[in-house]
């Protein structure tokens, strides 16, 4: 059975980005070999369709296909650029493929049946995208949440679970790294 996951970096106070989408606080994450192995393994094991809302999609697109990303983080850039990408937006009319930015599909509405049908063919991972997390969660479409907790209080920003209804979760695993990162892994069933 395929699954739909949320994979997000969050601050201790539960924000996945600053008030204007800032993710500069990711830079506070310290180097740690075990952590690097973990991120490498997660990206290699991907094969998942990446799911975005409009805002996160534009942010990803503005970074991952660039020479900077290809140089600094070639493994992840490769995964991001080649993976199937599914973008939800009411306003975007089309999504263009470019060099190092392939396999993109646009949907204008979130339809539960359509998503369950897609899930029969591929795993899906939502990155960032608060409003997509909210809508998928409230349609009971999420199987797993992976939260990478960065040791910082941001004080303001976009809340990861804003507008999500009450959900009981099962802790599958929680792992800490020497750079202060804690990864919580929850399942909904």
């Amino acid at each position: 059975m395929k699954k739909i996951s949320v994979f997000n970096f969050v601050s201790v106070d539960g924000f996945f980005s600053g008030p204007n989408g800032e993710i500069d606080w990711f830079k506070t994450i310290g180097n740690d070999s075990e952590w690097q192995d973990y991120t490498k393994r997660s990206s290699e094991g991907a094969g998942s369709t990446l799911v975005f809302g409009h805002t996160t999609y534009e942010m990803m697109k503005s970074y991952w296909p660039t020479p900077d990303a290809l140089k600094n983080d070639p493994d992840m850039a490769g995964v991001m650029n080649n993976s199937s990408k599914l973008v939800f937006s009411k306003t975007l009319k089309n999504v263009k493929e470019e060099e190092n930015w392939k396999n993109i599909k646009l949907l204008n509405t979130i339809n539960k049946e359509e998503i369950i049908d897609l899930k029969s063919k591929t795993d899906m991972t939502i990155l960032g995208s608060g409003s997509i997390v909210q809508q998928f969660s409230n349609l009971d479409l999420i199987d797993e949440y992976t939260l990478v907790v960065v040791p910082i209080i941001l004080g303001e920003g976009k809340a990861m679970f804003k507008g999500v209804k009450e959900i009981s979760l099962k802790l599958a695993d929680s792992k800490k790294f020497n750079n202060g990162i804690v990864v919580h892994h929850y399942k909904t069933k």
Binding site: D13, P151, I153, G155, E166, L169, K170, Y186
Partner: protein, 188 residues
């Protein structure tokens, strides 16, 4: 030299209580009780806002006076009674409970002075508004956040109106059998 330790139970979406102050979703069993008891052993004082203080004051002294109180309740009431209680409130004019100190203003100066005077730590529990003031004034030395495996959707957020960044240092984590994860951070 004492430290200020924040001890909170939160939902995964960062609420410390439901919209009507519900805390029935907080998982608290003997394993967590022991974990909290270990923290309490290092503590010389507890800190409250007005509302939490009033709630505590209206209940625990009566447990101590009642010979039929259950043992664990009696022990906690006795512990509370003997420890210094610090109440932060601009509106309270006096406090009745013994060993209680009222802080009306100059929060940072008062707390820093207590840190110097006390050998043990001070425990800050509940009181989200007060937690916000403590974070803003850089008064918290350690964060003990017990994350419950539940999204409650709405309620009273633990972190609100903080509007500043605080870099933390992970000291430890503990995973409990009931799915709670105890996060333990220090400040940098």
């Amino acid at each position: 030299m004492g430290k200020v330790i924040l001890l909170e139970h939160v939902s995964l979406d960062g609420f410390s209580a439901g919209p009507d102050k519900e805390i029935d979703w907080i998982k608290y069993d003997s394993e967590l009780e022991e974990y909290v008891a270990e923290i309490r052993k290092t503590v010389d004082a507890t800190i409250y806002g007005r509302i939490t203080y009033k709630m505590m004051e209206s209940y625990w002294p009566s447990v101590l006076r009642n010979p039929d109180s259950p043992k664990n309740q009696y022990e906690f009431a006795d512990w509370l009674d003997k420890k210094l209680k610090v109440v932060v409130s601009g509106t309270l004019s006096s406090v009745e409970w013994n060993n209680t100190k009222l802080i009306k203003d100059n929060l940072a100066d008062e707390i820093n002075q207590l840190k110097r005077e006390l050998e043990g730590n001070m425990l800050l529990i509940g009181s989200p508004t007060l937690v916000q003031s403590f974070i803003k004034e850089n008064l918290i030395d350690e964060y003990r956040i017990n994350v419950n495996p539940v999204i409650i959707g709405r309620g009273i957020p633990l972190y609100e109106n903080i509007n500043k960044k605080v870099n933390l240092k992970l000291l430890n984590t503990r995973t409990f059998n009931n799915g709670v994860v105890g996060l333990h951070y220090g400040t940098i």
